[in-house]
Amino acid sequence: MTSAKLVLDQITHKYGDGESSLTVLNKVSLQVEPGELVAIIGPSGSGKSTFLSIAGALLTPTQGKVYVDGIDLSGLGEQELTKLRLQQIGFIFQSANLIPYLRVQEQLMLVGKLAGMDNKDAAIRTQELLQRLGLSERSKYYPDKLSGGERQRVAIARAWMNDPAVMFADEPTASLDGSRGHDVVEMLATLVKKEGKAAVMVTHDERVLPLCDRVLNLENGVLTAG
């Protein structure tokens, strides 16, 4: 076993079956080492969402294996996968990221609570993360009072809450302007480096690519170095 936090081994995924089946991913392999931020780019319909769903334990591939922090996902049931997503995986989505009726600090507390974290520990961790991401003063705000960049930073903090092994970001800069997008990804990259996590980001935004350690191109279901 390698030290890689995330391993995708010969992943093939098809929709439908028989003659009409559509191969979305074709023998995709990837290893992400600790402290590495990998960007995946590619045109629409190239299979990026499917790739992220499989790597993020939301979808079981037709063939191939996924390992998150050394755990083989193929042997896990629905509930175990939910638990693994909670504890080992951090997600940052493009939108619908935050719960509108929770204050910033409660967004993080919820994730801690779900993972069974002690209330006091969760509160300390929340304050710590918010401070690191420069959100301390916003901790009592509702999401609709935050700017787009702040919202994505809260999402990063929340993804970080349970100290996951791997982070996935699905177009995190899509709703942000250039400089804000750059800031958000920079924060993500810094955290990944410092904590030795693995991160995979699907993006269209070429301006943030210099912040990534590797850029891969997904086209017609095949992953190539970009």
Binding site: S49, S53, S95, A96
Partner: protein
């Protein structure tokens, strides 16, 4: 409940509106139930309050006391089976009377029961039933509203017989009329005047026999005493003229209110749940178990239902105290408990469709979703 409570805190207006609606419905459910119980009681309290389990009637009398006519033998046979003091005769006759010094006719039901039997009424003022002099009767307190006092003379408009009010009893109604209790001797004197020579033998007949006892004894009575029916107290009450019709329409209103409250909640939560589908998808993606989300929906339904129910109960209690005494309204703790439990059950039933929707929401929705 972390999510459930915070969502209600955030969307106060929305939840306050639905709560107001539930409060009104629960109030109405409780109020109409109280009214139905009150009317039932006002209609049939005399039979309801009898310490009897079963009633023996003549076969073919269709559960109606007034249609039944039993011979003295039937009474004695029943007494032999269930015990001398466990079967008591009851005679009744609806009539109208006028109080002295008034032309107003009052509808009443005359009851005749044995002085020592378990059917003998408890007085609340005046003489006890056992000590009544001949020509004296106990009357229901409601007659006080028509100006009847202790010692008043009541004149039967059919026969001209007069009785003296010896005392009052409480909660004794039959088919919405106040009941007047008299002894069997007085009854016979009065009956004598209806009876022609052709049916002279019926003077000692009784209308019904009230029985205290269990089903086994009653089955014996049924098989041994000839041409009688034995019915439960409940059946006897529903057979009182007007009782079924009155209760039926009120029951229909109550059932509809229950169904409406279920639907109101179902629709409200379904719409809210649909609005939140993408949120639920995201929450599932980051590792929230479906159980937790379903619990959150049910938690909200329970919170809203229980708090509106509590307020509804308080409101009904308050209104109940303001109602005039003549208003038939009666809501016991037990009735309130069952009504409340049914209300909560309907609310839970209404939340099922939302819970199913939550369960069906796919975590995959969260990925690749374009900014909404």
């Amino acid at each position: 409940m972390y999510l459930a409570l915070r969502e209600m805190r955030f969307a106060k207006t929305r939840y306050a509106l639905i709560m107001t609606m539930l409060l009104l419905v629960s109030f109405l459910v409780l109020f109409v139930t109280g009214l139905a119980r009150g009317l039932a009681y006002a209609n049939a309290s005399s039979v309801e309050n009898m310490q009897a389990d079963y009633f023996m009637l003549q076969k073919g009398s269709d559960s109606r006391f007034s249609r039944s006519d039993l011979s003295e033998n039937a009474l004695q046979e029943a007494q032999q089976i269930v015990g001398q003091d466990k079967a008591a005769s009851l005679n009744l006759q609806m009539t109208n009377v006028t109080a002295e010094g008034s032309d107003q006719k009052l509808d009443v039901t005359m009851f005749s029961v044995d002085k020592g039997s378990f059917l003998a009424p408890e007085k609340i003022s005046g003489q006890a039933f056992a000590d009544l002099k001949s020509g004296s009767v106990l009357v229901d307190q409601k007659l006080e509203d028509s100006g009847v006092k202790l010692g008043s003379q009541l004149r039967d408009t059919m026969t001209g017989t007069t009785w003296t009010v010896g005392g009052f009893v409480n909660n004794e109604s039959y088919s919405h009329t106040p009941v007047i209790f008299m002894s069997p001797d007085g009854w016979k004197e009065w009956r004598q005047q209806f009876i022609t020579s052709k049916n002279a033998g019926t003077l000692n007949h009784v209308n019904v026999v009230a029985i205290q006892g269990d089903k086994a004894l009653v089955d014996q009575v049924k098989s041994k005493v000839q041409s009688v029916d034995v019915i439960t107290k409940k059946a006897a009450i529903s057979a009182i003229p007007g009782y079924k019709e009155e209760q039926g329409s009120l029951l229909m209103m109550i059932s509809f209110l229950f169904v409406i409250s279920g639907f109101v909640l179902a629709v409200f939560f379904y719409i809210i749940t649909i609005q939140k589908t993408s949120q639920f998808g995201m929450l599932k993606a980051i590792g929230t178990p479906t159980k937790y989300l379903a619990g959150s929906v049910i938690g909200q339904v329970m919170f809203l239902t229980l708090s509106s129910l509590l307020l509804g109960i308080l409101a009904v209690k308050g209104v109940g105290m303001l109602l005039p005494a003549s208003m038939p309204f009666q809501l016991s703790g037990t009735t309130m408990f069952y009504t409340g439990a049914l209300f909560v059950a309907m609310a839970l039933l209404g939340s099922i469709i939302s819970v199913l929707k939550v369960a069906k929401t796919d975590a995959l929705d969260a990925i690749g979703r374009v900014a909404a």
